[in-house]
């Protein structure tokens, strides 16, 4: 699906926050407002919610989601979409569970490396074969699932000795779960690397207007492949977190994380059309999604509504953040 894109002349480098209307500003802060509103509502509904125990439980749930969403955000910033993250994470949990006995501590980097490689292959297929990213990753999704099924023989692979990854279940400064700390570090690290190098403007330019970016001499193809590579690596890291919590690998362990991850990205305010957004927004979005997930049972809503809510949220959030000036025809 190729989208006709108008080349918007941009005299100044776009500085977000310069002279936007009040409505724009409100939309921009919406994720944070939503997060605070949810926290308040949940605390009122259940005063016990703001205790250390339930908050750390929520945080442990949030960590893999934050990492998944952060990686895929880069792809979305470039104007594409990565639908394979959940299947990739599931496959990675199987690999990790299988490799832990032999490789020990090296299993973690090995899994992340393999996931990054698979991500890069998808990126290369997208760029070189000129296939829309959602088709490549949709195909990738079913290929990864198939490989996971075959490798694990369609069953759960138990992890007997988890000493190599159990550090993720420790606490930093006695309160913050290690996996959450790692997730935040990942977001900070990627954000810093992007900010400190020309990558920031490269990624943005690719997302805002690919043809203009190409004409300006930006290595658009490499930027995109890199984005998919990081997205894959993040899925691998999320898998490590999942295995450390569940003590096993399973070919469908992370499959139900796709919708929450996409929801986290769009709820955070990253435009699905590319260019506008950041990893921090996805971090906020992931927290909002996690609170919704944890909060629904507290308020007394059956968990079946969770799915319906995700669906509605995704459509609503995309509708709010979409940059309509860029897309002439919505397919």
């Amino acid at each position: 699906m190729s989208t006709p894109v108008t080349v918007k002349p941009m005299a100044e480098p776009v500085v977000v926050g310069r002279g936007p209307s009040l409505a724009d500003r409100l939309t921009s802060f919406m994720p944070v407002i939503a997060l605070l509103a949810l926290l308040t509502a949940l605390t009122i509904a259940d005063p016990d919610f703001l205790t250390r125990r339930s908050l750390t439980a929520a945080a442990f749930t949030a960590a893999p989601l934050i990492v998944l969403a952060a990686g895929a955000t880069l792809v979305v910033l470039c104007g594409g979409i990565d639908l394979s993250i959940a299947a990739m994470a599931s496959l990675s949990t199987v690999f990790l569970a299988l490799w832990l006995p032999d490789l020990g501590a090296f299993a973690t980097p090995a899994v992340i490396g393999v996931a990054a490689l698979f991500g890069a292959v998808q990126g290369a297929a997208h760029v070189l074969l000129r296939i829309p990213s959602f088709i490549v990753t949709l195909g990738g999704m079913s290929i990864f699932s198939a490989v996971a099924l075959v490798v694990s023989d369609a069953g759960t692979v138990p992890v007997v000795d988890d000493s190599a990854i159990s550090w993720l279940n420790l606490y930093v400064a006695t309160y913050i779960p290690m996996s959450v700390a790692v997730a935040v570090i990942v977001v900070v690290a990627i954000s810093l690397v992007i900010k400190a190098t020309p990558l920031q403007s490269w990624v943005r330019a690719t997302g805002y207007s690919e043809s203009a970016a190409r004409l300006a001499g930006i290595p658009v193809d490499l930027v995109k492949i890199g984005a998919f590579c990081v997205s894959g690596a993040c899925a691998g890291l999320a898998a490590v977190m999942l295995v450390s919590r569940n003590f096993s690998g399973n070919p469908s362990m992370a499959d139900n994380l796709l919708l929450p991850a996409v929801a986290a990205i769009v709820v955070g305010g990253t435009a699905i059309t590319g260019g506008h957004g950041s990893l921090w927004r996805s971090l906020t979005g992931a927290l909002v999604v996690t609170l919704l997930r944890v909060g629904l049972p507290i308020v007394g809503v059956p968990s079946a509504w969770e799915q319906i809510l995700y669906g509605a949220i995704i459509v609503a959030a995309v509708a709010l953040t979409l940059d309509r000036s860029k897309v002439l025809i919505i397919k």
Binding site: M1, S2, T3, P4, V5, G79, G80, I81, A125, H126, L129, R130, I131, P132, S133, F134, I135, V136, L138, G139, G140, M141, S142, I143, S145, A146, V147, L149, V150, A154, E210, S211, L259, V262, V266, I272, G274, P302, S303, A304, W305, E306, Q307, I308, L309, Y310, G311, A312, I313, I314, V315, V318, A319, L322, R324, V327, L328, I329, I330, K331
Partner: protein, 338 residues
């Protein structure tokens, strides 16, 4: 296919016809030839594959996918995409299981129940279409959302106790045979025929093509595009709804996962059959060939001894390869691929 022929093809909507026709006919013949080659190949390899029983199996197994693909083809012809099949099928599967005679409640609506389940599918499709044209959200996002909504509705209706159907008519769909094929297979054949007639002879079908070919031109010529887009998504939703009903008939029970994997398989079948994701080319008959191709391949690989777990992976490879092959003629154009 020489480059100049391709150039004229890009503007085929308005240009003179004679030259593009030859290229189109080649493109149309490709999937059919591939189907024959694969079929003959497997038949030569495995004696089990070429038995009459197995051919019946393939046709019966293809029934649901054929109906779903029929629906998705119209969406793809417009250049949009539909990822909602799994959710819509789950919702309609549960709805029909609760509306016909079952072990959960006293309903016994028979055909009316089936019609209501199909209507639910159409309603969910309409939601996708409306979100697309009113909120201007890209279709892959709206349908991803609607898929989640459908699965949620199905889970709500499931309510922890699996509804088993005891409706004689619906059960007979999957078991009774005419001329060696189950009723479901004949229903699927009927759907393909209806789909082809709509595509060929109604405004809805012609405009779906035109929207995929050149939406701007159509809009500038004064056609109100939006209602047709909603109609196409509604129409596709009805087909998924029927697909869900058919799965319920096969399983004898309503399951939330009734449509699992069908969304992707249907896109694969349509693309393999020669429907372009960019829209404006392909059709219901192409998709029917694509469905048979996928089913023959799936069945043949299992007969030859490949693990059934590879099924999804093979489809993934095929769809990427098919899309890539379709894009090759256009890759020189400075086109942005998202």
């Amino acid at each position: 296919m020489t480059p100049p022929a391709e150039d004229t093809e890009d503007t085929a909507v308005v240009a003179a016809r004679p030259r593009p026709r030859r290229a189109v006919s080649f493109r149309d013949a490709g999937p059919t030839a591939a189907l024959l080659v694969i079929f003959v190949g497997f038949a030569a390899w495995s004696s089990q594959f070429r038995s009459i029983d197995n051919v019946q199996n393939i046709m019966d197994a293809a029934a649901v996918l054929a109906v779903v693909t029929c629906g998705i083809t119209f969406v793809l012809m417009m250049g949009s995409i539909d990822l909602s099949a799994a959710g819509v099928m789950g919702a309609s599967a549960l709805a029909v299981a609760l509306l016909v005679e079952n072990n959960r409640n006293g309903n016994d609506l028979g055909l009316l129940g089936i019609a209501l389940a199909v209507l639910l599918g159409a309603a969910l499709g309409a939601v996708s279409g409306l979100a697309l044209v009113l909120l201007k959200v890209p279709s892959f996002m709206t349908t991803l959302g609607v898929s989640a909504i459908g699965l949620g509705l199905a889970t709500l209706m499931f309510g922890g106790v699996q509804p088993n159907i005891s409706d004689k008519m619906l059960e007979s769909w999957a078991t009774e045979r005419i001329l060696g094929f189950t009723y479901l297979t004949w229903i699927a054949a009927g759907c393909v025929l209806v789909g082809w007639l709509i595509q060929r002879y109604t405004r809805l079908g012609r405009y779906a093509f035109a929207i995929g070919g050149a939406e701007e031109v159509l809009a500038l010529s004064g056609v109100k595009v939006a209602p047709y887009k909603v109609a196409v998504f509604t129409f596709a939703g009805a087909f998924y709804g029927l697909g869900g009903v058919m799965v319920t008939s096969q399983l004898g029970a309503g399951l939330v996962q009734a449509g699992e994997g069908y969304d992707f398989s249907a896109i694969t079948a349509a693309v393999v059959g020669g429907t372009l994701l960019t829209g404006g080319r392909g059709g219901v008959l192409h998709s029917a060939i694509g469905v048979l191709l996928i089913m023959v391949l799936t069945n043949g690989l299992v007969q030859v001894g490949v693990s059934p777990y590879w099924q999804g992976g093979v489809q993934g490879l095929i769809v990427v390869a098919a899309v890539a092959a379709a894009v090759i003629p256009q890759r020189r154009r400075n086109q942005v691929v998202k």
